[in-house]
Symmetry: none
Subunit: 206 residues, 4 copies
DNA sequence: AATGAATGAGTATTCATTCAT
DNA sequence: CATGAATGAATACTCATTCAT
């Protein structure tokens, strides 16, 4: 007989659902990996029925891909923009924004994507392709352009780093992985990345 | 009336069985990852029945752990021995055996173990523990000792590398991962590792 | 200021909706059978939302029954009327309108209803009941009356066909089923039905 | 502490299992049709775990096909053999073994297969093909040969039945379907088939 | 009346693990 | 020791039905 309005059984929020589901999925994939992640769990975390997950993502795999694609891209874009428009000296840029960027990776969502790609990339070649095209490849290309410009301005000399800019980011990768894998074995990743940048600069400065 | 002992070739000694199974398991885990690997497949590749697998390894997880433990250790041991008994100068050692060691990692079984640990380590903390104690930790300790000795002999100066010998191996890690993940995007990992060693030495030499 | 009444073409009158939905449902049930038919598909073909289907038909089963009931009845009624009011001789009627009627069955909607009843009748006894009362039973009764009349007029003699008028329609049933099942194995069902009628008449004529 | 031998948890009966499972499957498909049949139910009736079903039949569809293929064939073979070797007159054969054969169909497993093919044949064209090649086609060919022989011996005359032996079996088909569909509306199928044979013979005898 | 987002029970299929032989 | 038939819990995915809008 009470007039208490019953909590509606569900909400219609078409706009938000995909994002919410993808967000929950990210968490679950992050914790369990692709194979061990259960769609049930994703739905539960998103506060949604299992069926709804399948309304927005046709299969678990598609959900996975969507989730992986959804992370990452913006950040690299803004760094690239910054590189191309900075007025800092090359050295100052590397020591400043570049180091800051790399220091932010370990512990971030990106590093989790990294782990998922290392673990599962194998069976999702298109995902690897996407990731290479949009992140890795562009990042490396950006670094190459940047170093080249440094040479033109006389700030840098030409070294192996020009061909293999991976040398610049290797400690960032190690840091990201270390933090995820050896959670308890602390590593001062900020310092690691900085020290490495010192070494790089010492090496490439004209 | 004596029974001619036939088919000695096919008569596997029982002692070998666990090894053979583990070997097959390694292959399967390498290809599929932990969750997607099927015990059936392992047994088939080992040429034994599924039941036998369970005679030697109580669960799939135990099999996984045994497999991971089975790789790796000898190689690092011999490197450590070599470090401790070498008569080369520190620089010569780094440029020679050390670089050679690191160059062998990408594409090797160790890098596969690496991948599996990155992917699944999470849920097998004891495995991570084991791996840290026996491989990573000992390797880093060895590097620390080695650098320290170089300082004592006046060959090296004290730098951040002393605290974070990870700086030395980061490109090896990147190379190993790159080779597994971006199979088609070739990377000259030997040169990468060498170039990095140049840089390191330039940086730490007194 | 008067609002021009727009899009009359798209303004379906509500009275038509149930019919349109049933029509679409018929198609889908015909193609897939009861269990494999999806309400979604029915709605899509009817050009309405899934919800609307449930406004007019409480459940999928009810929709199915409505669809089955919707076919069939008129045709048999008009044949019965014709029988009762024809001025043709009995033979002429059988060779003319009766054969024509039977020849129209294979390939028609009725034969699809037939298939659905054979396949699903089991679980819808009321549907079978309905179909028997309104179609099969009445059809057979009509044939009995007709044959009886033929006997009274001296045109026919009494045979087993009087008790089992199914003998008259058996080839029609076979034809209908054959056409649906062995689509590619052509069968001249018109001739089959005609030849059978020859035989029947030869048999029952006084 | 009791010495009562515990009922073994399961039996290994590799030989019998497929047959038992197929048998159970037949029952379930017969009752429910393909789509509504549950593999769970099949396993339960076979007294077997669900998993075992999948050991012997890769999918539900394969199980269905195996089951359908498993029925039918022997009976038609023996009839054909009989036709080709009988010493009865053609008429005696038709009135005797042929009628007996047709009378056995309604109510038999074959009629259930018939229903399943009518209901589901659509989506299993290979099954239809198989059934046509092995049963329907051969049966009709046999009838044609038989009639032809009757003509050669002067017992029969040439009629439309030669081209369309379906005329002979139509009442059998109707009987089979009637018995399955209108379970409660009794029909003396034996008499129906016999009366029809009278008519046929009257028609085709020289 | 009409929509279609949301629900959740239901089902085929897989696979680690057991155990009779 | 060795086998592989047998088990059963787990899980991706579907679809009839509901209900907020």
């Amino acid at each position: 007989m009470s007039a208490v309005p019953t909590e509606p059984r569900y909400q219609r929020r078409k706009e938000d659902r995909p994002k919410e589901i993808a967000e929950a999925a990210f968490e679950v994939f992050a914790e369990k990996g692709y194979a061990a992640a259960r769609v049930d769990e994703v739905a539960k975390r998103a506060g949604v029925s299992k069926g709804l997950t399948y309304l927005y993502f046709k299969t678990k795999e598609e959900l996975f891909k969507a989730v992986i694609r959804g992370v990452v891209v913006r950040r690299i874009d803004s760094l690239i923009d910054e590189v191309d428009s900075t007025e800092l000296t090359a050295e100052a840029f590397l020591r400043g924004p570049m180091v800051a960027f790399m220091q932010r990776i370990p512990g971030s969502r990106i590093s989790i994507v990294l782990r998922l790609l290392i673990a599962e990339g194998h069976r999702h070649p298109d995902l690897l392709e996407y990731y290479y095209e949009n992140v890795v490849g562009r990042g490396l290309a950006m670094l190459r352009r940047f170093l080249e410009r440094g040479i033109e301005t006389g700030e840098f000399r030409r070294t192996a780093v020009n061909d293999m800019p991976q040398l610049i980011v290797a400690p960032m990768l190690l840091s990201a992985i270390w933090k995820m894998v050896f959670v308890k074995r602390s590593l001062d990743t900020d310092r690691l990345i900085e020290a490495h940048m010192d070494m790089i600069l010492e090496h490439i400065k004209a």
